[in-house]
């Protein structure tokens, strides 16, 4: 198929960006979206034009490196990551707009690449269980009921891609936060730090410049790992409990 691509190009963090229009031919529907961009980049380089910078690594939907706004939708029209989107989701002749994640807390580095280090700093604030190497009891010593174990696992599958932030009109990262708080909070091992974790992570979230949550739900709708919206209710509940405990 043949496609018209309107792509955001920006030379560096401080440069002003703008859209450029390119066309690609001979795209097969079995190609992934990023393979289509690889092909574009090969063509651009042949013409002496610098390739479009975009992030990806595993290309299996698990590392969370990739992430593009595709015609206004975070990761495009399917519930998946950009790297797992295939060209069969598009039709011949279509015009596709491609932009980076847009959020104050995710500044653009170049073209479609953004800086998501704010997520790491949120984890640093409390997204862990404090146990030094070698200090662990036998793994079988703490049974975890399957229901909790499954809920913990479901929320632990967050890949830190940032689509929830990009999709949210407030650029809030509450889904990402809620997923981590639920992952650790469902487990017996996570109880000791449960209160401080949620308070510290939320404080860091606000400090990074992410917006507040007004229950719009775009985050969960765009999340490639289908992290459920109710993790945000869980987070708010934990926050209330923690506030009471402090008093």
């Amino acid at each position: 198929m043949r496609l018209t691509l309107k792509i955001w190009r920006q030379d560096g963090p401080d440069a002003t960006g703008g859209f450029e229009t390119y066309t690609v031919d001979d795209i097969s529907e079995d190609m992934s979206f990023l393979e289509m961009l690889d092909e574009l980049n090969e063509n651009l380089q042949a013409r002496g034009i610098e390739p479009v910078a975009f992030d990806s690594d595993c290309r299996e939907g698990i590392c969370g490196t990739c992430g593009l706004m595709i015609s206004g939708l975070a990761h495009g029209p399917e519930v998946t990551t950009t790297c797992q989107l295939h060209m069969r989701s598009f039709s011949d002749g279509e015009e596709i707009t491609i932009e980076p994640w847009r959020a104050h807390a995710f500044p653009v580095i170049r073209d479609l690449v953004v800086d998501r280090s704010a997520f790491d700093r949120i984890i640093q604030a409390g997204g862990f269980i404090s146990v030094d190497t070698g200090a662990a009891p036998d793994a079988a010593a703490t049974p975890v009921p399957k229901v909790q174990a499954d809920r913990s696992f479901d929320t632990a599958t967050c890949i830190g891609c940032g689509a929830c932030v990009a999709a949210c009109p407030n650029a809030s990262a509450m889904l990402f936060l809620g997923a981590k708080v639920t992952h650790l909070g469902e487990l017996p091992q996570g109880q000791a730090e449960r209160n401080s974790r949620v308070v510290d992570m939320v404080a860091q979230h606000d400090h990074e410049g992410f917006g507040g949550c007004t229950n719009i739900g775009e985050c969960a709708a765009s999340c490639p790992k289908e992290i459920p919206l109710d993790v945000i209710s869980q987070l708010n509940k934990d926050l209330r409990v923690a506030a009471r405990a402090r008093r």
Binding site: A53, R116, D120, I123, A135
Partner: protein, 669 residues
């Protein structure tokens, strides 16, 4: 040193000492830890360690050394340590817990790993790996890794390719992700405490060696292009595997050999570089614009049955219309006791054999055969769940494999609940890597290597679910207890930022960058990488011959010249420049590919993942030659002349002695 052998390499002194302890195998590690010097807690803050790579092997080491109080700097090329390639591991992690009471033990895991590695690994190392494996599970559970559990709340296990006990712990099909998130969080905790300094989007491009010791690295800030010098008392490489030398592999796009190769050029030996693992259950290639291959966990082989049509005429039929009696469940037929669970190398080679025979399925792809003629071959075999669905019900199949089925459907557009999956082998893992002794120290003092980047533990073939085990064993339990013996001698003499060795290392980095940006040729980096990949896959892939390897060496040398004179890299150094990053990696892959072929050519036997067509049994099985080849091939970097156009490496042999396990010809019949 000998004369040039086969016009390609020389043989040097054998490796005298691997520091592996002696005595009863059960007590070696404990004794060794005791004998290794301790570092007083007050001194640790004065000692600095650089860790390149924050996958399982690097993040776990970083967290543990940080907790101990050392001053740690960690580096990764991604934007966050959470994205390392370890995240993609699906199937699980082995540990000798024997929670299932099915006769597992440390000794059995040791035995299985040595046997699975086709008797080409070091006994002491493998025993230690099995010995610390239970601690890994304890550590991970304490960190909050949500392993699969049974209804009673206890941990669940499954069995995995090549073994008959259930010792594999898993987290649905996302075990690597969950383990890495655990290690990542432990690392972030240390970053918050200030014991670890993290440098994301930084690529190591050179090693700094002073007075024969590793003392630092030169790294490029991939956002600003700044070339930075980082100095320390010791350096650890945890930079992962180099499967991307084949261009198409299941590795992440950025996986590379650069960190390891730069160290190799500075004197670290590269061991068994030709030992490559080809994974049998990957999604077949869709066309020539493919950028990478996708693996599906081989746990699928527990319940799926592999077959091809008996008759070549049936190959383009709808598989559901092929009656039972016209199907060849070839693994069950050839290996009745292991069936679909034979080790990876056997499953892979048999799939290739079936397709070579003309009984492959899926789209026919044009390829150039060993005779140089173009031909059309179907490269795929069926992995069928119809009987599993009948036996267990669709729901159980879904709960066990749902995410893998979804992934398959997303990529191919076919529904595996209805139509059998198509699979084909792909490069997946490298057993080869930098040579290390029992302490995980390379041949450069003060340079340690962990995880997939080193060669230890897996011999010529790795068992499923053992790489995650090794990465975490190295990082959490082994390295922290061996590197202290070295650090106890420090802090070492401070190094000046303008020391001649530092300046030389920086110059080598900037010269290379300058060359790429001004070469102004015709070829893109990717086009050269693809060409290298197809040479490697054809001649140094699943089946290797002396003739093919010799040809490949010639082709790679020509391609190297083409690369250095005709590559085109646009843009500049002072900004994010992904073509520039790739150019550096491909430059090193080209040299590595040459060494892999030399190694494969010199090893005139088949073992594990290395299959030499000249060395097979009458039934077409790999035939080892223990008399002549039971050694580790550790290669020292050397070139013909100054300009590195041709390698002329020096081979150092480390003899493998089996005191506990009797060497047998592997048989899975």
């Amino acid at each position: 040193m000998t004369e040039l052998i086969d016009g390609l390499y020389r043989e040097g002194e054998p490796i005298a000492d691997s520091k592996a302890p002696d005595g009863p195998i059960e007590t070696r590690w404990e004794r060794h830890q005791f004998e290794n010097a301790l570092v007083n807690p007050a001194n640790r803050r004065k000692l600095s360690v650089i860790i390149v790579g924050t996958g399982l092997a690097g993040a776990s080491a970083g967290a543990t050394l940080g907790e101990a109080g050392y001053h740690v700097k960690t580096f990764c090329y991604q934007d966050s340590p959470r994205r390392a390639h370890s995240i993609a591991a699906q199937g699980g992690i082995n540990a000798a817990k024997n929670y299932k009471g099915d006769g597992d033990s440390v000794y059995r895991l040791f035995y299985d790993t040595v046997k699975g590695g086709d008797y080409r690994s070091r006994e002491s190392n493998v025993y230690r790996l099995a010995e610390v494996s239970p601690n890994i599970i304890d550590q991970c559970v304490a960190q909050g890794v949500p392993f699969a559990r049974e209804y009673g709340g206890l941990l669940d296990n499954r069995s995995f390719g090549g073994v008959q006990v259930q010792r594999t712990f898993y987290a649905r099909g996302q075990t690597g992700q969950q383990l890495l998130i655990g290690a990542y969080q432990a690392l972030e905790r240390q970053i918050a405490k200030g014991t670890v300094e993290m440098f994301s989007r930084h690529e190591m491009l050179e090693l700094v060696v002073i007075d024969g010791k590793a003392r630092g690295i030169i790294a490029r800030d991939m956002v600003t292009g700044e070339i930075e010098t980082h100095l320390a008392d010791a350096v650890v490489l945890a930079s992962g595997g180099y499967g991307n030398v084949f261009f198409l592999s299941t590795n992440a796009m950025g996986c590379n050999v650069t960190a390891a190769w730069r160290a190799h050029r500075k004197g670290a030996y590269m061991a068994n570089p030709c030992y490559t693992q080809i994974h049998p259950t990957c999604i077949p290639q869709h066309g020539d614009k493919q950028s990478k291959l996708t693996l599906m966990s081989e746990s699928l082989r527990n319940d799926g049955r592999i077959w091809v049509p008996k008759n070549a005429e049936d190959c383009d039929k709808d598989p559901r219309d092929i009656p039972e009696e016209d199907r060849d469940y070839y693994l069950e037929r050839i290996y009745p006791s292991f069936g679909n669970l034979v080790p990876r190398d056997i499953a892979s080679r048999q799939a290739k054999n079936m397709c070579d025979e003309g009984r492959g399925v899926g789209p026919a792809i044009v390829e150039v055969g060993p005779d140089g003629e173009e031909r059309e071959v179907r490269r795929g075999v069926y992995l069928d769940f119809a009987s599993a669905i009948e036996r267990m019900g669709r729901e159980s199949v879904e709960s066990k494999y749902g995410n893998l089925f979804d992934m398959y459907e997303r990529i191919t557009g076919e529904n595996p609940y209805e139509v059998p999956m198509r699979i084909y082998p792909a490069v997946h893992y490298v057993m080869g890597g930098l040579w290390v002794d029992y302490d995980l120290e390379s041949s450069i003092p003060g340079l340690y290597v962990t995880g997939e980047a080193n060669f230890s533990d897996h011999g010529a073939n790795r068992l499923g679910a053992s790489a995650l085990m090794q990465g975490l064993a190295d990082g959490y339990f082994v390295l922290p207890n061996t590197i202290r013996d070295y650090l106890a001698k420090g802090p070492f003499e401070p190094v000046a930022e303008d020391a001649p060795e530092v300046e030389e290392a920086r110059r080598s980095v900037t010269d290379r960058i300058e060359h790429f940006l001004t070469c102004d040729g015709e070829r893109t980096v990717d086009s050269i990488h693809k060409e290298l990949g197809s040479i490697m896959w054809e001649y140094c892939g699943m089946e290797r011959t002396a003739e093919g390897l010799q040809k490949a060496i010639g082709l790679i040398r020509e391609l190297k010249t083409e690369f250095w004179t005709n590559v085109k890299v646009l843009g500049s150094n002072d900004q994010l420049n992904q073509s520039l990053e790739k150019a550096g990696r491909v430059a090193d892959f080209l040299e590595l590919g040459e060494l892999m072929c030399i190694d494969a050519l010199h090893r005139e036997e088949s073992c594990g993942g290395h299959f030499r067509a000249e060395s097979q049994t009458e039934e077409g099985e790999a035939l080892r030659n223990d008399e002549d080849f039971s050694y580790v091939a550790a290669w020292e970097y050397a070139t013909k002349g100054e300009d590195a156009a041709e390698l002329e490496p020096v081979l150092h042999k480390e003899d493998l002695v089996y005191e506990f396990i009797e060497m047998k010809q592997r048989s899975y019949k």
